[in-house]
């Protein structure tokens, strides 16, 4: 069990303890305030170098990591390569070695291959590696920002300060995750975070998009999706990843929408206070109806904006390490 992410790489949320998660959420809360300042910067990572390496397409994750690093006053080296290391002709190891020669404190890595972040952490053991999504494996900062967003909204509704609530708002919270669990690194990180924080998680998906070991996950598989809608305090939809060939796991997109899409009709079965989440980018009309995506219950944009304080917190804790003072 990882009791704190301070001073270490963040590769996965598997085995990250409740206290460690709450520490990140609370740290992120203290960075939200920076966003409201005229000068949106703190000197916490001044003089530190953060490389942002995206070997796979990404807009929101890359922009929010780079914004986070800049708000912490770190120097940011940015490299976007939308191709596999093999196609590029240079190995991941050589790319990392080249950039490391410039003097690195942290690497933010997105890669299409599961385990790439862990491999990089072996190539450069002195550098903190932050996994920004690796293959089908993990997307830890997404799991953190999803938990952060839920806690923030629930705290606001109760009129309490989010950072005073620890993990209490997750106690017994009903979270329903819907869609392509099999190919989703977001689902793996979300489940790790929600369960560690005390929520009850159910998943709903076509049989072909459930991992074969789902019985060993700390979740319940729902047999009746429509019934589960009434149970949920939070519904998290996953992107149907057509670009990974997921389309061939279901007979057609329209059948998927009919059976597991959050259509307007289905959304009416949700409890009025239920929250609707999606990691983006949305396939409007496939897993989520356009009208539903724009309801006030949908807190998708908040997820995006919370990406910055969460990633500030992760960069700060992993890089600044033992120093407990937030600048």
């Amino acid at each position: 069990m990882i009791e704190s992410i301070r001073g270490r790489s963040l590769l996965s949320l598997h085995d990250v303890s409740r206290d460690a998660l709450v520490e990140v959420l609370d740290t992120a809360e203290s960075f939200v305030e920076v966003h409201q300042r005229t000068v949106k910067k703190v000197p916490a990572l001044k003089g530190r170098v953060v490389a942002s390496l995206f070997f796979e397409e990404s807009t929101r994750t890359r922009l929010s990591f780079e914004t986070a690093a800049k708000r912490l006053s770190a120097d940011v080296l940015s490299l976007a390569v939308a191709s596999s290391s093999v196609k590029k002709g240079e190995s991941l190891r050589d790319t990392i070695a080249t950039i490391d020669a410039l003097g690195l404190d942290a690497v933010v890595l997105r890669h299409r291959s599961s385990g790439a972040a862990e491999q990089v952490s072996r190539f450069v053991p002195h550098v903190r590696v932050i996994n920004a999504g690796d293959g089908l494996h993990q997307h830890p900062t997404q799991g953190l920002l999803d938990a952060f967003t839920i806690r923030q909204v629930l705290a606001e509704r109760r009129g309490v300060a989010s950072s005073d609530t620890g993990a209490t708002l997750f106690d017994g919270l009903h979270v329903l995750i819907v869609g392509d669990i099999l190919h989703s690194r977001v689902a793996r990180s979300d489940v790790d975070a929600y369960v560690a924080l005390g929520a009850r998680v159910r998943v709903a998906a076509p049989g072909t998009l459930l991992p074969i070991d789902i019985e060993t996950w700390p979740v319940e598989v729902v047999s009746d999706f429509d019934e589960a809608l009434e149970w949920a305090d939070v519904i998290g939809l996953l992107r149907l990843q057509n670009e990974r060939g997921t389309g061939s796991f279901v007979p057609s997109l329209s059948e998927y929408t009919t059976t597991f899409g959050l259509t307007a009709a289905r959304a009416r079965r949700l409890r009025p206070e239920a929250l609707i989440m999606h990691p983006g980018p949305i396939n409007r009309g496939v897993e989520l109806d356009s009208i539903v995506a724009d309801l006030p219950a949908a807190i998708i944009e908040r997820q995006v904006s919370n990406g910055v304080p969460i990633r500030m917190a992760v960069l700060y804790l992993t890089v600044a390490g033992a120093n407990r003072e937030v600048a």
Binding site: S85, L92, R93, G115, R122, G135
Partner: protein, 437 residues
């Protein structure tokens, strides 16, 4: 030729073992007995406390030449084989291009004739290993090729496999199958299960192997042609083949050392040195494969020695090529796996020499085969292909000690018990004191 006398070792025969000297003259075993008089000037190998048996035979070696000589060559691979106690290896045909014609087979045999150990060749079953049209098996058989396989992949089309078996049977050659259904195993890079799911790696399910084993057993029943099953990795595969053997079908099975020493958990750090096809399986499968050495379900241990350039094993797990080195550690790992079984030196040589030599037609019986004199009894008149194995020596496997050009061994840093001391190929001492002579 000079003579060699191997003194005071436990000479391991097919059914019994006794302490004796072995005198080798002119490449042939001249005498076996106590306190033999050796001609003056004989080279003396002290085998006290060691096993002396027929040189090991590897049914499954990827020598990479032609095509990928940066990973291994026939010459470097034969050095690795010699250090590992092997006096003969069967070179797999999945080179670039594939060994599917007489010219290429001749090239490998010629290169092999200059190597430290005997290099037999397996031919491809189908042209270009594409699984469509049969390779010229009769022409290759006339050259002395006795084993045919599309290894690296199985023959996917059942009709093609049936035709290949029917064609091979009257030629007196044996087919060998890499059992994996390509559709079920597609894109997978480790065993399918809870761990692959947690790691986000696409799995190669056990059933991908088992479904082809089941299919091919039926095709053997239909055609009557012999079939050898390569690197079986699951308990179920071994049971199915065992039941077919009991039924009288002409089938044989090999297992690879990594499948009885390493389980899928080795993949949990995404280190591609542990990526191999078929993949490292569950602990239960590892136990079943290990048990097959003793209970007879496995006929042979074969290395599936698969060299890959170091930079390729640094790739992300799903992009890295599958395969690991095997020649230099197989004897030690097999010895460890047999453990304290009474009579294990006999089983050791059955698994690593006698049975594989029979399967590959490398004994004396087949006069038309290119190579012979392997896997026999240690008696006067036999070719002097011998190995001296010290079952007590403890040593550490290390990347920097390998004879292979490649370094993709999963055993770096592992403490091993039992080591090849001396390898004798047709009377020539090619390895002495565990190092190339």
């Amino acid at each position: 030729m000079a003579s060699v006398v191997v003194r005071n070792g436990l000479v391991v025969g097919p059914e019994s073992a006794t302490v004796a000297d072995v005198l080798v003259v002119d490449g042939v075993i001249a005498a076996v007995g106590e306190n033999l008089d050796a001609p003056g000037g004989s080279r003396v190998v002290d085998a006290t406390g060691c096993w002396v048996g027929p040189g090991l035979v590897d049914l499954h070696t990827h020598l990479r030449e032609p095509g990928r000589e940066s990973a291994e060559t026939i010459e470097s691979g034969s050095r690795a084989a010699a250090v590992g106690g092997f006096t003969a290896v069967v070179a797999m045909p999945n080179t670039e291009p594939a060994i599917d014609n007489v010219a290429l087979a001749t090239y490998v045999l010629d290169q092999g004739s200059r190597a430290l150990v005997d290099v037999a060749v397996a031919g491809a079953i189908t042209q270009g290993r594409r699984g469509e049209r049969l390779a010229p098996m009769a022409e290759l058989a006339a050259l002395g090729v006795r084993l045919f396989t599309d290894d690296g992949a199985g023959v996917q089309d059942a009709a093609v496999m049936r035709r290949a078996l029917s064609y091979a049977r009257p030629l007196g050659v044996r087919l060998a199958q890499h059992c994996e259904d390509a559709n079920l195993a597609a894109d997978g890079s480790m065993n399918e299960g809870a761990l692959s799911s947690q790691l986000g790696l696409i799995g190669r399910p056990a059933v991908a192997e088992e479904i082809m084993v089941a299919r091919d057993l039926d095709l053997v029943r239909l055609t009557g042609a012999p079939l050898h099953f390569l690197h079986l990795s699951t308990g179920r595969s071994l049971s199915m083949v065992g039941a077919a053997r009991d039924e009288g079908l002409p089938v044989t099975a090999e297992v690879a050392p990594h499948h009885f020493t390493l389980d899928e958990s080795s993949c949990s750090t995404f280190d591609a040195h542990f990526k191999v096809n078929p993949p490292l399986r569950t602990r239960a499968d590892v136990a079943a494969v290990r048990a097959s050495l003793v209970n007879g379900l496995a006929d042979a241990v074969a290395t599936d020695h698969a060299p890959h350039a170091a930079e390729l094993k640094d790739l992300p797990f799903d992009e890295a090529p599958a395969g690991m080195l095997g020649l230099e550690h197989a004897a030690s790992l097999t010895h460890e796996a047999l453990g304290a079984t009474p009579g294990d030196p006999i089983r050791f040589f059955a698994l690593l020499s006698r049975n594989p030599a029979r399967i590959a037609s490398l004994r004396h019986e087949d006069r038309r085969a290119r190579h012979s004199g392997h896997g026999g009894a240690v008696v006067a008149g036999e070719d002097a292909n011998l190995v001296v194995f010290d079952p007590h020596e403890k040593w550490e496997a290390s990347w920097d000690r390998l004879q292979s050009l490649a370094t993709n061994s999963p055993y770096h840093g592992r403490e091993l018990t039992g080591r090849v001391r001396c390898t004798i190929v047709r009377g020539a001492v090619v390895v002495d004191e565990g190092a190339l002579a």
